[in-house]
């Protein structure tokens, strides 16, 4: 059973189709990357999944049941892109308050907050106010308040912005840990290298529509362009083969693209015939960043306003 099933979700505003027929599924324990250019409709989509907005059409199923925000938001943790906390409130009180709003009793809330504060070495912050914290520290606190209720679904919108590498890693480790314990995580960001590193599944949305859906590896396979890198132990002589073309040449390292109708074995065969020693031979898969740019490029960078007839 999927943790979350989103079917044909639509949300139209007067001037835009913010989300236009998006469907996806999320398995328990998976880390799911939601990608898309600015204004693609990611925030609107996430707001519907968290119950902040109601979809115009479509259906959300949470743990096999029709999504009911009132009941289910106790099992959801949401860290929006625009992060914020009550500036004048004491940090300990604030964390407990936010946990209580997720339905925890005061005693449980207290226990959980203490547990996380010790884990993140934040005990000394308890009586400080949020305004006394640096931006990175606030971010850490925000993450803690998001996961206090031990959510089954965690939605993180740009969770690493403003964090130094040490704290980024700390939170990354926690994300892995939470996923291992069965939480499903939706991770929205523009930082492609983080997506490649963390996510096992991605969807790409543009102009309110899903244009790509698959595992990170599957997507890369789907968009591979038969580009290989070959390492040789000496400079080859004249290279002229119908099987491939050299794209880039760096001393004894060649980047080449295999022409249509040929296989990688044909490349190796060519160099074997040349009697050049081969050190390495490896396919170069496109980075998510390349795929992203390829798919999104050509469409206008910023969304134009349009009249919607829904």
């Amino acid at each position: 059973m999927n943790r979350l099933d989103v079917k044909h979700l639509k949300k139209y505003y007067t001037s835009q189709k913010a989300v236009d027929d998006i469907s996806f599924s999320l398995a328990p324990g998976s880390i799911f990357g939601l990608l898309g250019p600015n204004g693609a409709g990611k925030t609107t989509l996430l707001r519907m999944v968290t119950g902040i907005l109601y979809p115009d059409e479509g259906e959300i199923t949470f743990d096999g049941q029709l999504f009911n925000p009132d009941k289910d938001n106790a099992y959801i943790g949401y860290m929006p892109e625009e992060k914020g906390l009550y500036k004048k409130m004491k940090i300990g009180d604030q964390a407990i308050y936010l946990a209580q709003l997720k339905g925890l009793s005061k005693a449980t809330a207290m226990e959980r907050v203490k547990h996380w504060f010790i884990k993140f070495e934040m005990q000394s912050w308890w009586n400080k106010k949020v305004e006394d914290l640096s931006k990175g520290m606030q971010q850490k606190l925000q993450f803690v308040t998001t996961v206090l209720n031990d959510p089954k679904l965690i939605i993180l919108d740009e969770p690493f912005s403003g964090l130094d590498p040490v704290n980024s890693n700390l939170i990354k480790e926690e994300i892995y840990m939470l996923a291992q314990n069965g939480a499903s995580i939706i991770f929205s960001t523009h930082r492609m290298e983080q997506v490649e590193e963390i996510c096992d599944h991605i969807i790409l949305v543009n102009k309110g529509q899903k244009i790509l859906d698959g595992s990170v590896n599957g997507v890369k396979q789907q968009f591979k362009e038969a580009i290989f890198s070959i390492g040789l132990d000496s400079q080859p002589g004249q290279i002229n083969s119908p099987a491939f073309e050299i794209i880039n040449k760096k001393e004894q390292q060649l980047i080449l693209k295999i022409n249509e109708g040929f296989r990688s074995n044909d490349v190796l065969h060519f160099f074997l015939q040349q009697e050049v020693g081969i050190n390495s031979f490896q396919e170069i898969l496109p980075s998510l960043s390349d795929i992203f740019i390829k798919l999104v490029e050509g469409t206008p960078l910023t969304r134009q306003f349009q009249t919607v007839t829904a």
Partner: protein, 429 residues
Amino acid sequence: MNKILLVIQREYLVRVKKKSFVFTTILIPLVIIGFYAVIFAISVSGGHDKNTVAVIDQAGFFSSNIENSKGDESKYIIITDQSLETFKGNYKSKGYDYLLYIPPMDVTKSTSNIQLFSPSPLGLSQKRKIERTIDNAVELKRLQSANIPREQYRSIQSDVSIENKVLNGKEEKKNVAIVAQTVSFACGMLIYVIMLIYGTMVMRGVMEEKISRIAEVMVSSVKPFQLMMGKIIGIGAVGLTQFAIWITLIVTLRYVLHIPGLDSIGTTPGMAESGGMMTTINTGLGSLPWALIISCFIFYFLGGYLLYASLFAAIGSVVSEDQSEAQQFVFPVMMPIVLGFVIMSKGMSDPNSPLVIFGSLFPLTSPVVMMGRIMYNVPVSQIIASMLLLVLGILFFTWVTAKIYRTGILMYGKKVTWKEMIKWTFRKS
């Protein structure tokens, strides 16, 4: 339901626990008392300045010595050996404060063109006193020319003061209109101030949530409506706490200082002069329908607050980033409050005029206006209608503002227009 209680609790505790809460709760009444003390002091003072006035009297208003009017402590010296033109320039250096010039005229016919020269504008009460002194002299002259003895004139003059007695069937009670008026005005004024102070407090609270960007985190846990109502009720409770503290303070102070009765409330400046006034005030206060006043006050206090707090919450939700942006939205909400205050002031003199009756029924003005006329035997049907309309008004405005709030609280970076807000109101959820 449990969540709204949590929100109320937070909103309440965060404000009450602040150090500034105790401070302002005690300071505000002191400032108000101080403010009125200063006004009182200013209105009473001014009679004590003793000025020397040089008089060039070419009409012969005054005989050799000038008879001062009551309360006028200026010293008048008649100048005969100087012309106006030369003396105008140097009266100051000769030790005079003012120069009074009376041009030649027939005293029995007109008294125009009298001039008073002073280095700076004259105070109103000072001017009145000098005028009265001249009036006395003119009167005397006219009496002389009409051959009427002064004593006879005095005996003709009349100075009536009416005592208002109210017949209410069972017993005749002494009533002092001014006491009822003062209490009415104070109640209306209090509700007016409450709506403004606590309304803006709600607005700032909502703006804080929006600007600090916690709103989105909050609405992923609680419904926007719960968040809004929690804030409104929480801040309302802060207001009630403040009132409770004030009442306790007043009661304790009275007990400690042994101030008898309710007399401290009804005293107005100038009335203290007459000796029996205290008893009149006491009986006046005693004749007021206190049960009605207090129950209405509580009702209109809560009703007015709930109505305007939701409006202010909606304003807070559509403002992003800066305070000055709030101004354009605050103005239309302030207007009916101020209008209510104006109508109430009118109701003081004419409590049954159509405008005042309308004002006391219309939900946006009724809390202030009705409190201002509650003393004047308002028909029960009107009170019930006014209360019903207020409850309907609260329901309507809460419904409308909740819709605006829900959308506004998540809207960033874009200036919201009135047109959009109206559109949000009619949009289905």
